[in-house]
Protein backbone atom coordinates (compact mmCIF):
# COMPACT_ATOMS: atom_id res chain seq x y z
CA UNK A 1 0.00 0.00 0.00
CA UNK A 2 1.30 3.45 -0.92
CA UNK A 3 1.99 5.70 2.01
CA UNK A 4 0.26 9.04 1.82
CA UNK A 5 1.65 10.44 5.09
CA UNK A 6 4.96 9.45 6.61
CA UNK A 7 6.08 11.26 9.77
CA UNK A 8 9.48 10.45 11.21
CA UNK A 9 10.68 11.31 14.72
CA UNK A 10 8.40 14.33 14.87
CA UNK A 11 8.87 16.59 17.91
CA UNK A 12 7.54 19.99 18.87
CA UNK A 13 8.54 22.03 21.90
CA UNK A 14 6.83 25.20 23.05
CA UNK A 15 9.47 26.57 25.38
CA UNK A 16 9.85 23.99 28.14
CA UNK A 17 6.69 22.16 27.14
CA UNK A 18 7.24 19.12 24.96
CA UNK A 19 3.96 18.93 23.04
CA UNK A 20 5.03 16.08 20.74
CA UNK A 21 7.96 13.72 21.25
CA UNK A 22 9.61 11.53 18.61
CA UNK A 23 6.33 10.65 16.96
CA UNK A 24 6.53 8.41 13.90
CA UNK A 25 3.58 7.09 11.97
CA UNK A 26 2.42 6.43 8.46
CA UNK A 27 -0.95 6.55 6.76
CA UNK A 28 -1.66 4.32 3.79
CA UNK A 29 -3.60 5.34 0.70
CA UNK A 30 -7.36 4.99 1.06
CA UNK A 31 -7.14 4.38 4.79
CA UNK A 32 -9.16 6.01 7.53
CA UNK A 33 -6.47 6.65 10.09
CA UNK A 34 -7.75 7.32 13.59
CA UNK A 35 -5.79 9.63 15.81
CA UNK A 36 -6.65 9.19 19.46
CA UNK A 37 -5.54 10.91 22.58
CA UNK A 38 -6.79 12.86 25.55
CA UNK A 39 -6.99 16.65 25.50
CA UNK A 40 -3.45 18.02 25.39
CA UNK A 41 -2.02 14.72 24.14
CA UNK A 42 -0.52 16.41 21.09
CA UNK A 43 -3.07 15.50 18.41
CA UNK A 44 -3.83 19.04 17.25
CA UNK A 45 -0.16 20.04 17.35
CA UNK A 46 0.67 17.06 15.14
CA UNK A 47 -2.13 17.96 12.72
CA UNK A 48 -0.91 21.57 12.66
CA UNK A 49 2.56 20.32 11.78
CA UNK A 50 1.07 18.32 8.89
CA UNK A 51 -0.60 21.49 7.63
CA UNK A 52 2.51 23.68 8.09
CA UNK A 53 0.81 25.85 10.69
CA UNK A 54 3.42 24.85 13.24
CA UNK A 55 7.09 24.27 12.48
CA UNK A 56 8.36 20.97 13.94
CA UNK A 57 11.29 21.32 16.36
CA UNK A 58 12.72 18.19 14.76
CA UNK A 59 11.71 15.34 12.49
CA UNK A 60 10.49 15.09 8.94
CA UNK A 61 7.13 14.85 7.23
CA UNK A 62 6.51 13.38 3.81
CA UNK A 63 3.09 13.60 2.18
CA UNK A 64 2.33 12.02 -1.22
CA UNK A 65 5.99 10.94 -1.18
CA UNK A 66 7.21 14.56 -1.12
CA UNK A 67 8.96 16.49 1.61
CA UNK A 68 6.41 18.83 3.15
CA UNK A 69 8.84 21.69 3.62
CA UNK A 70 10.06 21.59 0.04
CA UNK A 71 6.76 20.86 -1.71
CA UNK A 72 4.35 22.64 0.62
CA UNK A 73 2.15 24.22 -2.06
CA UNK A 74 1.77 21.06 -4.14
CA UNK A 75 0.92 19.02 -1.03
CA UNK A 76 -1.57 21.50 0.41
CA UNK A 77 -3.29 21.81 -2.97
CA UNK A 78 -4.11 18.10 -2.67
CA UNK A 79 -5.11 18.29 1.00
CA UNK A 80 -8.29 19.44 2.71
CA UNK A 81 -8.63 19.99 6.43
CA UNK A 82 -10.69 21.19 9.29
CA UNK A 83 -8.77 22.02 12.43
CA UNK A 84 -10.57 21.97 15.76
CA UNK A 85 -13.77 23.98 15.42
CA UNK A 86 -14.16 25.19 11.86
CA UNK A 87 -14.39 28.97 12.18
CA UNK A 88 -15.41 30.64 8.98
CA UNK A 89 -16.19 34.20 7.91
CA UNK A 90 -19.33 34.86 9.92
CA UNK A 91 -20.26 37.95 7.93
CA UNK A 92 -20.30 35.96 4.66
CA UNK A 93 -22.80 33.39 3.44
CA UNK A 94 -22.05 29.67 3.12
CA UNK A 95 -21.70 30.05 -0.65
CA UNK A 96 -19.33 32.99 -0.31
CA UNK A 97 -17.19 31.08 2.19
CA UNK A 98 -16.98 28.08 -0.13
CA UNK A 99 -16.08 30.29 -3.07
CA UNK A 100 -13.27 31.95 -1.12
CA UNK A 101 -11.80 28.69 0.14
CA UNK A 102 -11.93 27.02 -3.27
CA UNK A 103 -10.11 30.00 -4.82
CA UNK A 104 -7.52 29.86 -2.03
CA UNK A 105 -6.89 26.27 -3.07
CA UNK A 106 -6.24 27.53 -6.61
CA UNK A 107 -9.40 25.86 -7.88
CA UNK A 108 -12.25 27.64 -9.59
CA UNK A 109 -15.46 25.79 -8.92
CA UNK A 110 -18.83 26.23 -10.54
CA UNK A 111 -21.96 27.35 -8.72
CA UNK A 112 -23.28 23.83 -9.26
CA UNK A 113 -20.28 22.29 -7.55
CA UNK A 114 -20.73 24.67 -4.60
CA UNK A 115 -24.39 23.75 -4.31
CA UNK A 116 -23.58 20.03 -4.64
CA UNK A 117 -21.06 20.35 -1.85
CA UNK A 118 -23.57 22.14 0.37
CA UNK A 119 -26.14 19.46 -0.44
CA UNK A 120 -23.61 16.78 0.54
CA UNK A 121 -23.39 18.27 4.04
CA UNK A 122 -27.12 19.08 4.21
CA UNK A 123 -26.86 22.86 3.95
CA UNK A 124 -28.21 23.51 0.45
CA UNK A 125 -31.30 25.26 1.81
CA UNK A 126 -29.12 27.65 3.87
CA UNK A 127 -26.63 28.45 1.12
CA UNK A 128 -27.48 32.15 1.12
CA UNK A 129 -27.59 32.55 4.92
CA UNK A 130 -24.77 34.32 6.71
CA UNK A 131 -22.66 31.96 8.78
CA UNK A 132 -23.32 34.01 11.93
CA UNK A 133 -26.88 32.64 11.85
CA UNK A 134 -25.64 29.01 11.83
CA UNK A 135 -25.66 26.63 14.79
CA UNK A 136 -22.39 24.98 15.87
CA UNK A 137 -23.35 21.77 14.10
CA UNK A 138 -24.11 23.62 10.86
CA UNK A 139 -20.76 25.42 11.07
CA UNK A 140 -19.09 22.04 11.55
CA UNK A 141 -20.77 20.70 8.40
CA UNK A 142 -19.90 23.83 6.43
CA UNK A 143 -16.31 23.46 7.64
CA UNK A 144 -16.28 19.98 6.19
CA UNK A 145 -17.65 21.33 2.91
CA UNK A 146 -14.81 23.91 2.75
CA UNK A 147 -12.29 21.11 3.35
CA UNK A 148 -13.74 19.09 0.47
CA UNK A 149 -14.63 21.79 -2.05
CA UNK A 150 -11.39 21.42 -4.04
CA UNK A 151 -11.71 17.62 -4.17
CA UNK A 152 -8.58 16.80 -2.12
CA UNK A 153 -6.96 13.36 -2.09
CA UNK A 154 -6.05 13.63 1.59
CA UNK A 155 -8.62 14.84 4.13
CA UNK A 156 -7.53 15.75 7.65
CA UNK A 157 -10.35 16.13 10.15
CA UNK A 158 -9.66 17.30 13.67
CA UNK A 159 -12.60 16.41 15.92
CA UNK A 160 -15.14 16.45 13.07
CA UNK A 161 -18.06 15.40 15.28
CA UNK A 162 -17.67 18.34 17.66
CA UNK A 163 -20.97 20.14 18.18
CA UNK A 164 -22.99 17.63 16.19
CA UNK A 165 -26.17 16.01 17.49
CA UNK A 166 -26.52 12.19 17.38
CA UNK A 167 -28.00 12.31 13.87
CA UNK A 168 -25.19 14.65 12.78
CA UNK A 169 -22.59 12.29 14.22
CA UNK A 170 -24.13 9.38 12.33
CA UNK A 171 -24.17 11.48 9.13
CA UNK A 172 -20.52 12.42 9.66
CA UNK A 173 -19.63 8.74 10.15
CA UNK A 174 -21.39 7.82 6.92
CA UNK A 175 -19.69 10.67 5.10
CA UNK A 176 -16.25 9.55 6.29
CA UNK A 177 -17.00 6.02 5.13
CA UNK A 178 -18.32 7.36 1.80
CA UNK A 179 -15.18 9.46 1.25
CA UNK A 180 -12.95 6.52 2.04
CA UNK A 181 -14.71 3.49 0.62
CA UNK A 182 -16.47 5.02 -2.39
CA UNK A 183 -14.28 7.96 -3.36
CA UNK A 184 -10.99 6.38 -2.34
CA UNK A 185 -9.79 9.34 -0.32
CA UNK A 186 -7.28 9.01 2.50
CA UNK A 187 -8.49 10.35 5.82
CA UNK A 188 -6.71 11.21 9.02
CA UNK A 189 -9.33 11.74 11.70
CA UNK A 190 -8.71 12.79 15.26
CA UNK A 191 -11.55 12.36 17.68
CA UNK A 192 -12.35 11.79 21.28
CA UNK A 193 -15.46 9.80 20.32
CA UNK A 194 -13.82 6.43 20.58
CA UNK A 195 -16.90 4.45 19.66
CA UNK A 196 -17.14 6.43 16.42
CA UNK A 197 -13.48 5.81 15.64
CA UNK A 198 -13.96 2.14 16.25
CA UNK A 199 -16.65 2.17 13.58
CA UNK A 200 -14.78 4.10 10.89
CA UNK A 201 -11.02 3.73 11.40
CA UNK A 202 -8.92 1.08 9.68
CA UNK A 203 -5.79 1.96 11.60
CA UNK A 204 -5.34 3.68 14.95
CA UNK A 205 -2.65 5.70 16.63
CA UNK A 206 -2.99 6.46 20.31
CA UNK A 207 -0.81 9.21 21.70
CA UNK A 208 -0.43 10.26 25.28
CA UNK A 209 1.53 13.25 26.58
CA UNK A 210 2.97 13.78 23.11
CA UNK A 211 4.27 10.23 22.71
CA UNK A 212 3.05 7.30 20.70
CA UNK A 213 1.50 4.66 22.95
CA UNK A 214 0.39 2.21 20.31
CA UNK A 215 -0.34 2.01 16.59
CA UNK A 216 -2.08 -0.75 14.72
CA UNK A 217 -5.18 -2.05 13.04
CA UNK A 218 -8.31 -1.76 15.17
CA UNK A 219 -8.93 -5.50 14.96
CA UNK A 220 -5.40 -6.20 16.22
CA UNK A 221 -5.59 -3.68 19.05
CA UNK A 222 -8.87 -5.05 20.32
CA UNK A 223 -7.43 -8.50 21.02
CA UNK A 224 -10.41 -10.88 21.15
CA UNK A 225 -8.51 -13.35 23.35
CA UNK A 226 -6.89 -11.25 26.07
CA UNK A 227 -9.42 -8.93 27.70
CA UNK A 228 -9.71 -6.54 30.55
CA UNK A 229 -12.44 -8.05 32.74
CA UNK A 230 -14.37 -5.95 35.20
CA UNK A 231 -15.81 -7.41 38.38
CA UNK A 232 -18.42 -5.48 40.36
CA UNK A 233 -19.35 -6.85 43.77
CA UNK A 234 -20.72 -5.39 47.01
CA UNK A 235 -17.91 -7.23 48.82
CA UNK A 236 -14.89 -5.67 47.09
CA UNK A 237 -12.50 -6.29 50.00
CA UNK A 238 -13.51 -9.95 50.32
CA UNK A 239 -13.20 -10.45 46.58
CA UNK A 240 -9.76 -8.80 46.46
CA UNK A 241 -8.55 -10.93 49.39
CA UNK A 242 -9.69 -14.10 47.62
CA UNK A 243 -8.18 -13.11 44.25
CA UNK A 244 -4.80 -12.20 45.79
CA UNK A 245 -4.58 -15.56 47.57
CA UNK A 246 -5.71 -17.61 44.58
CA UNK A 247 -4.23 -18.23 41.17
CA UNK A 248 -5.83 -15.01 39.86
CA UNK A 249 -3.36 -12.74 41.67
CA UNK A 250 -1.24 -12.16 38.53
CA UNK A 251 -4.20 -10.93 36.51
CA UNK A 252 -5.15 -8.06 38.85
CA UNK A 253 -5.02 -4.50 37.50
CA UNK A 254 -5.59 -1.10 39.05
CA UNK A 255 -9.25 -0.82 40.17
CA UNK A 256 -11.32 1.88 38.42
CA UNK A 257 -14.21 3.59 40.21
CA UNK A 258 -14.41 0.83 42.83
CA UNK A 259 -14.60 -1.94 40.24
CA UNK A 260 -11.97 -4.68 40.25
CA UNK A 261 -10.15 -5.10 36.94
CA UNK A 262 -8.20 -8.09 35.72
CA UNK A 263 -6.64 -9.10 32.45
CA UNK A 264 -7.01 -12.67 31.19
CA UNK A 265 -8.54 -14.74 28.42
CA UNK A 266 -12.26 -14.09 28.53
CA UNK A 267 -12.95 -17.84 28.09
CA UNK A 268 -12.03 -18.11 31.78
CA UNK A 269 -14.84 -15.84 32.97
CA UNK A 270 -17.30 -18.70 33.81
CA UNK A 271 -14.59 -20.39 35.90
CA UNK A 272 -13.88 -17.20 37.86
CA UNK A 273 -17.60 -16.67 38.38
CA UNK A 274 -17.97 -20.23 39.72
CA UNK A 275 -15.09 -19.79 42.20
CA UNK A 276 -16.42 -16.47 43.48
CA UNK A 277 -19.88 -17.89 44.06
CA UNK A 278 -18.38 -20.92 45.81
CA UNK A 279 -16.53 -18.58 48.18
CA UNK A 280 -19.82 -16.79 48.92
CA UNK A 281 -18.80 -13.57 47.21
CA UNK A 282 -21.87 -12.06 45.52
CA UNK A 283 -21.24 -11.07 41.87
CA UNK A 284 -23.22 -8.14 40.51
CA UNK A 285 -21.38 -8.01 37.21
CA UNK A 286 -18.47 -9.80 35.57
CA UNK A 287 -17.85 -8.73 31.98
CA UNK A 288 -15.06 -8.30 29.46
CA UNK A 289 -14.20 -4.77 28.46
CA UNK A 290 -13.10 -4.98 24.89
CA UNK A 291 -14.35 -1.74 23.40
CA UNK A 292 -11.89 0.79 22.08
CA UNK A 293 -12.80 3.08 24.93
CA UNK A 294 -11.83 0.47 27.50
CA UNK A 295 -8.62 -0.20 25.66
CA UNK A 296 -7.86 3.49 25.36
CA UNK A 297 -8.47 4.09 29.06
CA UNK A 298 -6.36 1.11 30.05
CA UNK A 299 -3.45 2.54 28.04
CA UNK A 300 -3.67 6.20 28.96
CA UNK A 301 -4.30 5.62 32.68
CA UNK A 302 -1.10 3.68 33.06
Amino acid sequence: MNQVIRAEQLSKDFGDIKAVRDLSFSVGQGQVYGFLGQNGAGKSTTIRMLLTLVEPSSGTIEIFGMNLKKHRKEILRRTGAIIEKPDLYKYLTAKENLRIFSRLSAVKVSEKKIMDQLALVGLADRAESKVKTYSQGMKQRLGLATALIHDPELVILDEPANGLDPQGIADMRNLILHLSKELGKTLLVSSHLLGEMEMVADQLLIIHKGEKVVEGRVSELLNPEQSIVELVTPDTLGALAFLRQSGWAGTLKEPVNGAIRMEFNKQQIPELNRQLVEKGIPVLSLRPLNSLEDYFLSLTKR
Binding site: L53, T79, Y89, I100, R103, L104
Partner: protein, 294 residues
Protein backbone atom coordinates in the same frame (compact mmCIF):
# COMPACT_ATOMS: atom_id res chain seq x y z
CA UNK B 1 -2.23 33.69 -7.34
CA UNK B 2 -1.33 37.05 -5.78
CA UNK B 3 -4.07 38.83 -7.77
CA UNK B 4 -6.55 36.19 -6.66
CA UNK B 5 -5.50 36.68 -3.03
CA UNK B 6 -5.79 40.45 -3.36
CA UNK B 7 -9.30 40.11 -4.81
CA UNK B 8 -10.29 37.84 -1.91
CA UNK B 9 -8.89 40.29 0.65
CA UNK B 10 -10.69 43.25 -0.94
CA UNK B 11 -13.88 41.22 -1.13
CA UNK B 12 -13.63 40.48 2.61
CA UNK B 13 -12.86 44.13 3.48
CA UNK B 14 -15.78 45.53 1.54
CA UNK B 15 -18.20 42.87 2.75
CA UNK B 16 -17.83 44.12 6.33
CA UNK B 17 -20.16 46.94 7.29
CA UNK B 18 -17.54 48.51 9.57
CA UNK B 19 -15.38 49.29 6.54
CA UNK B 20 -17.91 51.90 5.51
CA UNK B 21 -17.87 53.64 8.89
CA UNK B 22 -14.66 55.40 7.82
CA UNK B 23 -16.20 56.55 4.54
CA UNK B 24 -19.29 57.78 6.37
CA UNK B 25 -17.25 59.54 9.07
CA UNK B 26 -15.11 61.34 6.49
CA UNK B 27 -18.14 62.52 4.54
CA UNK B 28 -19.83 63.82 7.70
CA UNK B 29 -16.71 65.62 8.97
CA UNK B 30 -16.05 67.27 5.62
CA UNK B 31 -19.65 68.40 5.26
CA UNK B 32 -19.54 69.81 8.79
CA UNK B 33 -16.35 71.77 8.09
CA UNK B 34 -17.76 73.04 4.79
CA UNK B 35 -20.98 74.11 6.53
CA UNK B 36 -19.02 75.87 9.31
CA UNK B 37 -16.86 77.74 6.79
CA UNK B 38 -19.89 78.65 4.72
CA UNK B 39 -21.61 80.32 7.67
CA UNK B 40 -18.54 81.58 9.53
CA UNK B 41 -15.63 81.44 7.10
CA UNK B 42 -14.70 85.09 7.39
CA UNK B 43 -13.73 84.70 11.07
CA UNK B 44 -11.66 81.67 10.19
CA UNK B 45 -9.71 83.58 7.53
CA UNK B 46 -9.37 86.60 9.83
CA UNK B 47 -7.78 84.40 12.47
CA UNK B 48 -5.00 83.43 10.05
CA UNK B 49 -4.55 86.87 8.51
CA UNK B 50 -4.50 88.85 11.75
CA UNK B 51 -0.80 89.72 11.45
CA UNK B 52 -1.17 90.90 7.82
CA UNK B 53 -4.45 92.77 8.18
CA UNK B 54 -2.67 95.92 9.40
CA UNK B 55 -0.35 95.98 6.38
CA UNK B 56 -2.91 95.63 3.58
CA UNK B 57 -6.58 94.99 3.03
CA UNK B 58 -7.40 91.30 3.04
CA UNK B 59 -9.87 90.16 0.34
CA UNK B 60 -11.66 87.67 2.63
CA UNK B 61 -14.31 86.61 0.09
CA UNK B 62 -11.69 85.82 -2.53
CA UNK B 63 -9.50 83.90 -0.10
CA UNK B 64 -12.41 81.79 1.13
CA UNK B 65 -12.79 79.74 -2.04
CA UNK B 66 -13.09 76.01 -2.74
CA UNK B 67 -9.33 75.42 -2.86
CA UNK B 68 -8.76 77.21 0.44
CA UNK B 69 -11.56 75.25 2.10
CA UNK B 70 -10.11 71.98 0.78
CA UNK B 71 -6.69 72.77 2.27
CA UNK B 72 -8.38 73.67 5.57
CA UNK B 73 -10.31 70.38 5.51
CA UNK B 74 -7.14 68.42 4.83
CA UNK B 75 -5.39 70.16 7.75
CA UNK B 76 -8.20 69.17 10.07
CA UNK B 77 -8.94 65.66 8.84
CA UNK B 78 -5.65 64.07 7.79
CA UNK B 79 -4.43 64.03 11.40
CA UNK B 80 -7.30 61.71 12.32
CA UNK B 81 -7.31 59.40 9.33
CA UNK B 82 -4.55 57.14 10.76
CA UNK B 83 -7.13 55.88 13.26
CA UNK B 84 -9.46 54.89 10.42
CA UNK B 85 -6.60 53.17 8.58
CA UNK B 86 -5.52 51.35 11.75
CA UNK B 87 -9.07 50.04 12.19
CA UNK B 88 -8.73 48.04 8.97
CA UNK B 89 -5.00 47.28 8.72
CA UNK B 90 -4.65 46.43 12.43
CA UNK B 91 -7.34 43.80 12.02
CA UNK B 92 -5.83 42.13 8.95
CA UNK B 93 -3.95 39.26 10.64
CA UNK B 94 -5.11 39.52 14.25
CA UNK B 95 -8.75 39.65 13.14
CA UNK B 96 -8.30 36.39 11.24
CA UNK B 97 -6.57 34.90 14.30
CA UNK B 98 -9.39 35.88 16.66
CA UNK B 99 -12.01 34.72 14.15
CA UNK B 100 -10.19 31.39 13.84
CA UNK B 101 -9.80 31.67 10.07
CA UNK B 102 -6.05 32.30 10.09
CA UNK B 103 -5.34 28.58 10.44
CA UNK B 104 -7.57 27.89 7.44
CA UNK B 105 -5.79 30.52 5.35
CA UNK B 106 -2.30 29.43 6.39
CA UNK B 107 -3.14 25.79 5.61
CA UNK B 108 -3.89 26.64 1.98
CA UNK B 109 -1.40 26.38 -0.90
CA UNK B 110 -0.24 29.98 -0.72
CA UNK B 111 2.93 31.20 0.94
CA UNK B 112 2.63 33.28 4.06
CA UNK B 113 4.58 36.06 2.33
CA UNK B 114 1.99 36.10 -0.46
CA UNK B 115 -0.77 36.16 2.11
CA UNK B 116 0.77 39.05 4.02
CA UNK B 117 1.60 41.06 0.90
CA UNK B 118 -1.96 40.58 -0.36
CA UNK B 119 -3.26 41.89 2.93
CA UNK B 120 -0.88 44.85 2.76
CA UNK B 121 -1.90 45.57 -0.84
CA UNK B 122 -5.57 45.39 0.16
CA UNK B 123 -4.91 47.86 3.01
CA UNK B 124 -3.18 50.16 0.52
CA UNK B 125 -6.14 49.97 -1.86
CA UNK B 126 -8.40 50.83 1.07
CA UNK B 127 -6.19 53.85 1.89
CA UNK B 128 -6.26 55.06 -1.71
CA UNK B 129 -10.05 54.66 -1.92
CA UNK B 130 -10.44 56.51 1.37
CA UNK B 131 -8.35 59.40 0.02
CA UNK B 132 -10.20 59.39 -3.30
CA UNK B 133 -13.44 59.62 -1.34
CA UNK B 134 -11.93 62.46 0.67
CA UNK B 135 -10.82 64.22 -2.51
CA UNK B 136 -14.29 63.87 -3.95
CA UNK B 137 -15.93 65.50 -0.96
CA UNK B 138 -13.22 67.93 0.12
CA UNK B 139 -12.04 69.17 -3.26
CA UNK B 140 -14.93 68.74 -5.66
CA UNK B 141 -17.51 69.48 -2.96
CA UNK B 142 -15.73 72.65 -1.85
CA UNK B 143 -15.22 73.79 -5.46
CA UNK B 144 -18.95 73.42 -6.04
CA UNK B 145 -19.98 75.15 -2.81
CA UNK B 146 -17.35 77.93 -2.64
CA UNK B 147 -16.23 78.32 -6.27
CA UNK B 148 -12.60 78.61 -7.42
CA UNK B 149 -10.08 81.43 -7.11
CA UNK B 150 -6.39 81.80 -6.46
CA UNK B 151 -5.26 79.77 -3.44
CA UNK B 152 -3.78 81.51 -0.41
CA UNK B 153 -2.05 79.34 2.19
CA UNK B 154 -0.66 80.61 5.49
CA UNK B 155 2.57 79.26 6.90
CA UNK B 156 3.12 80.75 10.34
CA UNK B 157 3.46 84.50 9.49
CA UNK B 158 4.15 83.86 5.82
CA UNK B 159 1.58 83.84 3.02
CA UNK B 160 1.81 81.66 -0.12
CA UNK B 161 -0.33 82.60 -3.11
CA UNK B 162 -0.95 80.26 -6.04
CA UNK B 163 -2.81 81.01 -9.25
CA UNK B 164 -6.05 79.05 -9.68
CA UNK B 165 -4.57 77.29 -12.69
CA UNK B 166 -1.55 76.20 -10.65
CA UNK B 167 -3.50 74.43 -7.91
CA UNK B 168 -5.12 71.18 -9.09
CA UNK B 169 -1.82 69.35 -9.66
CA UNK B 170 -0.79 70.34 -6.12
CA UNK B 171 -3.89 68.69 -4.68
CA UNK B 172 -3.23 65.58 -6.73
CA UNK B 173 0.38 65.49 -5.48
CA UNK B 174 -0.73 66.15 -1.90
CA UNK B 175 -3.22 63.26 -2.04
CA UNK B 176 -0.55 60.95 -3.47
CA UNK B 177 1.80 61.97 -0.66
CA UNK B 178 -0.95 61.51 1.94
CA UNK B 179 -1.55 58.03 0.48
CA UNK B 180 2.14 57.24 1.05
CA UNK B 181 1.94 58.53 4.64
CA UNK B 182 -1.20 56.54 5.40
CA UNK B 183 0.26 53.45 3.75
CA UNK B 184 3.08 53.80 6.28
CA UNK B 185 0.46 53.73 9.06
CA UNK B 186 -1.19 50.70 7.42
CA UNK B 187 2.18 48.89 7.29
CA UNK B 188 2.79 49.61 10.97
CA UNK B 189 -0.72 48.46 11.98
CA UNK B 190 -0.24 45.29 9.90
CA UNK B 191 3.08 44.64 11.66
CA UNK B 192 1.43 44.93 15.09
CA UNK B 193 -1.36 42.72 13.80
CA UNK B 194 1.10 39.88 13.14
CA UNK B 195 2.05 39.79 16.82
CA UNK B 196 -1.47 39.83 18.22
CA UNK B 197 -4.42 37.49 18.33
CA UNK B 198 -7.06 40.11 18.99
CA UNK B 199 -7.97 43.09 16.84
CA UNK B 200 -8.00 45.76 19.52
CA UNK B 201 -4.33 45.50 20.52
CA UNK B 202 -2.80 46.42 17.13
CA UNK B 203 -5.30 49.23 16.57
CA UNK B 204 -4.64 50.78 19.99
CA UNK B 205 -0.87 50.27 19.62
CA UNK B 206 -0.83 52.02 16.23
CA UNK B 207 -2.85 54.97 17.47
CA UNK B 208 -0.67 55.24 20.61
CA UNK B 209 2.54 55.31 18.57
CA UNK B 210 1.13 58.05 16.32
CA UNK B 211 0.00 60.08 19.35
CA UNK B 212 3.31 59.72 21.19
CA UNK B 213 5.42 60.76 18.19
CA UNK B 214 3.04 63.62 17.35
CA UNK B 215 3.33 64.96 20.91
CA UNK B 216 7.12 64.59 20.85
CA UNK B 217 7.12 66.53 17.59
CA UNK B 218 4.89 69.30 18.95
CA UNK B 219 6.88 69.71 22.17
CA UNK B 220 9.70 71.36 20.18
CA UNK B 221 12.26 70.31 22.77
CA UNK B 222 15.76 70.84 21.26
CA UNK B 223 16.94 67.34 22.11
CA UNK B 224 13.95 65.81 20.30
CA UNK B 225 14.21 68.31 17.45
CA UNK B 226 17.77 67.15 16.80
CA UNK B 227 17.42 63.41 17.38
CA UNK B 228 13.87 62.07 17.09
CA UNK B 229 11.92 64.49 14.92
CA UNK B 230 14.09 64.38 11.78
CA UNK B 231 13.49 60.61 11.59
CA UNK B 232 10.02 60.34 13.08
CA UNK B 233 7.44 59.23 10.53
CA UNK B 234 4.86 61.59 12.05
CA UNK B 235 7.07 64.53 11.06
CA UNK B 236 7.23 63.35 7.46
CA UNK B 237 3.58 62.37 7.28
CA UNK B 238 2.77 66.08 7.17
CA UNK B 239 4.96 66.49 4.09
CA UNK B 240 1.87 66.90 1.87
CA UNK B 241 1.66 70.52 3.08
CA UNK B 242 4.90 71.20 1.19
CA UNK B 243 3.04 71.11 -2.13
CA UNK B 244 1.18 74.27 -1.07
CA UNK B 245 4.31 76.26 -0.12
CA UNK B 246 5.75 77.98 -3.19
CA UNK B 247 9.03 79.53 -4.16
CA UNK B 248 9.17 83.29 -4.58
CA UNK B 249 11.39 85.40 -6.82
CA UNK B 250 13.55 88.34 -5.69
CA UNK B 251 10.53 90.67 -5.83
CA UNK B 252 8.56 88.33 -3.56
CA UNK B 253 6.21 87.17 -6.32
CA UNK B 254 5.18 83.49 -6.53
CA UNK B 255 6.93 81.36 -9.15
CA UNK B 256 4.16 79.38 -10.87
CA UNK B 257 4.60 75.62 -10.71
CA UNK B 258 7.27 75.82 -8.02
CA UNK B 259 7.60 74.11 -4.66
CA UNK B 260 9.42 75.88 -1.85
CA UNK B 261 11.49 72.90 -0.71
CA UNK B 262 11.33 69.93 -3.11
CA UNK B 263 14.38 68.32 -1.49
CA UNK B 264 12.57 68.15 1.87
CA UNK B 265 9.54 66.60 0.18
CA UNK B 266 11.71 64.01 -1.53
CA UNK B 267 13.47 63.24 1.75
CA UNK B 268 10.13 62.84 3.55
CA UNK B 269 8.88 60.54 0.79
CA UNK B 270 12.00 58.41 0.99
CA UNK B 271 11.89 58.18 4.77
CA UNK B 272 8.23 57.12 4.68
CA UNK B 273 9.05 54.51 2.02
CA UNK B 274 11.89 53.30 4.22
CA UNK B 275 9.50 52.89 7.16
CA UNK B 276 7.02 51.00 4.98
CA UNK B 277 9.76 48.59 3.86
CA UNK B 278 11.00 48.18 7.43
CA UNK B 279 7.52 47.45 8.82
CA UNK B 280 6.81 45.05 5.95
CA UNK B 281 10.14 43.30 6.38
CA UNK B 282 9.54 42.74 10.10
CA UNK B 283 5.98 41.55 9.36
CA UNK B 284 7.04 39.06 6.69
CA UNK B 285 9.88 37.68 8.79
CA UNK B 286 7.72 37.25 11.90
CA UNK B 287 4.66 35.93 10.10
CA UNK B 288 6.68 33.38 8.12
CA UNK B 289 8.12 31.91 11.32
CA UNK B 290 5.01 32.23 13.45
CA UNK B 291 3.43 29.09 14.87
CA UNK B 292 -0.28 29.46 14.23
CA UNK B 293 -1.97 28.22 17.36
CA UNK B 294 -5.15 30.31 17.26
Amino acid sequence: MFTELLKIELYKIFKRPRTFIAFGAIAVIILLVQFALKVNGRDFVQFYTESQSDTFEIPYEKILNGYFVCVAVLHMILVHVPLLVALIAGDMISGEASLGTLRLLAGKPVTRTQLLLAKFAASTVYVVLLLAWMALFALLGSMLIFGTEDLVVFKETDMHIMKAGDVIWRFFAAFVFAALALTCIAAMALMFSVFSENSLGPIVATVCVVIVFTIVQQLRVPVFEETVNPWSFTTHMLGWKGFFYVEKNAEGATITGSIENPAALLRSGLILTGYILLFLGVSIRSFSKKDILS
